[in-house]
């Protein structure tokens, strides 16, 4: 029970800043991929 609560708390804590950093990084990577694909055409 304690382990599950600790995991839930860790997931909750990381959902904010880590989630934001991850999603912005993925968006930046996708943008670069879109630009590279557009440049090839």
């Amino acid at each position: 029970m304690d382990r599950a609560l600790r995991l839930a708390r860790a997931a909750l804590e990381s959902s904010g800043d880590f989630g934001l950093a991850l999603s912005l990084s993925m968006l930046a990577l996708h943008y670069l991929w879109v630009q590279a694909r557009t440049g090839q055409r």
Partner: protein, 206 residues
């Protein structure tokens, strides 16, 4: 020009139909309720951000579900438009509702919501312009849903961070004079924290 008008109208209608009823209901609950369930702190902040994540997942499911239900032709375009033009203001409302419900009414409830909605809308529109505007049509596949999810997470979490930064102290912890001054002269005393820092106080008012 027609795109700007359409996006503005979509944002206004989504605010009126999707966000405003929730905001009014929360204000009513806060007026009737005796005390907030949680004090301000790390757990409350994490819960607000977590609500933003759950809200983003729900908004994406709603946008893609509506697009698929409306028809297969152009489902991807409809899903992208729903996610980037209709969803941002309700996404900002999710974190606002979570924060106000968990820790009570804030000093600047309207400014925090308006700024959070503006940040969410700007993030979504910029993402649309950068990733999908002028690009060839593509099917509504798993890759598109993944990128949509990143856009929703970004706008929702940035809106939640904006709300947390702007909302100010909980009303219950402030003296009545502080609340009256903040509401009467927002231009003169642009923020309580500025007043306190200028006067060298760390807590209380003046």
């Amino acid at each position: 020009m027609i795109w700007i008008l359409g996006a503005g109208l979509t944002g206004m209608s989504s605010t009126a139909l999707l966000a405003l009823p929730a905001l009014l209901a929360v204000r009513r609950v806060l007026a009737m309720r005796g005390a907030a369930p949680l004090p301000r702190g790390g757990l409350e902040r994490d819960l607000v951000m977590g609500a933003g994540v759950i809200g983003a997942l729900g908004a994406l499911a709603w946008a893609d579900g509506c697009a698929l239900a409306l028809g297969s032709y152009g489902a991807a375009e409809m899903a992208i438009l729903l996610a980037t033009c209709v969803a941002p203001v309700p996404l900002a409302a999710v974190s606002w509702v979570a924060g106000e419900m968990l820790s009570g009414s804030s000093l600047r409830p309207f400014a925090s919501f308006i700024l959070a909605a503006a940040v969410a809308t700007a993030t979504s529109w910029l993402s649309y312009a950068a990733l999908w505007a002028g690009q060839p049509r593509r099917p509504l596949d798993l890759g598109l849903v993944g990128i949509q999810l990143m856009v929703m997470f970004s706008s929702s979490l940035l809106a939640a961070k904006t709300y947390l930064a702007v909302r100010g102290e909980p009303l219950a912890s402030l003296p009545a004079e502080a609340v009256a001054l903040e509401r009467a002269a927002p231009d003169y005393s642009s923020s309580m924290s500025e007043n306190r820092s200028l006067r060298g106080c760390s807590s209380g008012f003046f």
